[in-house]
Symmetry: C2
Subunit: 269 residues, 2 copies
């Protein structure tokens, strides 16, 4: 981590500029709206230069997803550090998810898009590993709360019910709910008027079903939500910047990687 030459700093800067330009694009219209030409044009460089930073569009999305999970983890960490019962702390993570989706929708979008084999399959192993790492740390944070609950005696695990599976359940419930909320043709038609409230209520039902003490109480839960939300929104302003993550020293390390035969040359879903 020696000092950087001006040139190197220039390159780093451009990398983050690329991502800053790309983020609103994919938020607006998915991968198809992410135009390499447009980025090059706005940055006043040649397209080839963009390709020196990222071997293809998909890799940009992956880079965005990494930023996204970083931001999410940050919120999670703030959430679990709050003082309260184990049940309150796990609830805080749920609120963190809501804050995340509401305050950083562009990041959330990146996470959704990278979650497609067709996109994922065109990215480099190197960056994939980075994302896996981030996701792993997120899981670890959540699992930690569950473990604490067990230690504290708030939660008794039945045989054949693993901590990871519980985390997976909450994850499914929240992620699935958010995705359906965003993309379902007919949520309102079908009678779901306040999907957020429904998600929260359902998470609580699940935890009640595990007999995670203390059981759901609308009153106290509601005030806790207020508290957490205020705390998180105060501490994690959407404008906060992410530290640049260094993936290679030189551009040339990125260049020649040549994917093992791009299955589809077109764009995506």
């Amino acid at each position: 981590m020696a000092r950087l030459t001006p040139k190197q700093r220039m390159i780093r800067l451009r990398e983050s500029q690329i991502l800053d330009l790309a983020r609103p694009m994919i938020a607006l219209g998915g991968l198809a709206a992410l135009s390499m030409d447009a980025i090059a044009h706005e940055l006043q460089t040649a397209k080839g230069t963009i390709y020196n930073h990222f071997p293809n569009k998909e890799e940009i999305v992956l880079a965005l997803a990494v930023q996204a999970v970083d931001r999410r983890l940050e919120l999670f960490n703030h959430a679990v550090m709050m003082r309260g019962t184990s049940r309150q702390r796990i609830a805080a993570i749920g609120i963190a998810c809501e804050v995340y989706v509401d305050a950083l929708p562009e990041f959330f979008r990146a996470e959704q898009i990278i979650r497609h084999e067709t996109v994922w399959g065109k990215t480099t192993e190197k960056r994939q590993e980075i994302l896996r790492n981030c996701e792993g740390r997120c899981m670890h944070t959540v699992a930690g709360v569950v473990r604490d609950a067990v230690s504290a005696g708030d939660l008794e695990l039945e045989a054949a019910h693993r901590i990871e599976d519980i985390v997976f359940g909450l994850w499914s419930l929240v992620y699935g709910g958010m995705v359906l909320e965003t993309t379902s043709p007919s949520l309102v038609d079908v009678g779901i008027v306040d999907s957020r409230a429904a998600i929260r209520r359902n998470c609580n039902s699940m935890l009640d079903g595990l007999r995670w003490q203390p059981l759901y109480d609308p009153q106290s839960y509601s005030t806790w939500v207020q508290q957490v939300r205020a705390h998180l929104e105060a501490n994690c302003p959407p404008t906060g910047l992410v530290v640049d993550r260094e993936i290679s020293q030189t551009q040339s390390e990125n260049k020649p990687k040549k994917l093992a035969k791009p299955v589809q040359s077109g764009q995506e879903l």
Copy 2:
């Protein structure tokens, strides 16, 4: 519903041929892998002819999604018709989802793809309405079981907990779980070894949390799963064909619709 001229039958036939060709394509590589040229070529017609049937790629995906939800509904109906407690019948729907995803992955994929604003936004109102209708009927089927449970006294709804929200919860949990299972970079790395078992377990936790009687019992649940799965797989062979759904009498009704300015001309996600 008079008789069809040979020509009209020809057209109907081609429509289903288009869908049959498109299904494996999107299953393999998403919307990008759905090639209009390839379909035209394989059908030995001109590309323009395909565009007489569907105004764009997205509309084909939507048509596939309609087929998909039809198939899903079919399975749901078989599931809820089984004799058992209300809790067993709701569990049967969960199993139906598993059978659906396993036996008809191409259909599931279509449902996933249409669930993107960028894809959805390019389809016609007419067919959108059809899909909403199908989804509504699915919801209705599931909600019916919940209502039965309430009637039978197996389930007491607290105030501010609506039936639709419970259905939404199960939907989120199962859909979210299945999506994560399919697309998560690192499920195994992170400790989820049997995601299906986890989904089932978590659904049961949620229902337990609602105090939906009788509560989860591993033994009896497990045997019920066997039964349902066998029944569904016997009654709904994957090869079963869907009745053609008639959307318009003549092709020319489809043709001139001209979308209100395609925001993105490229493909998707």
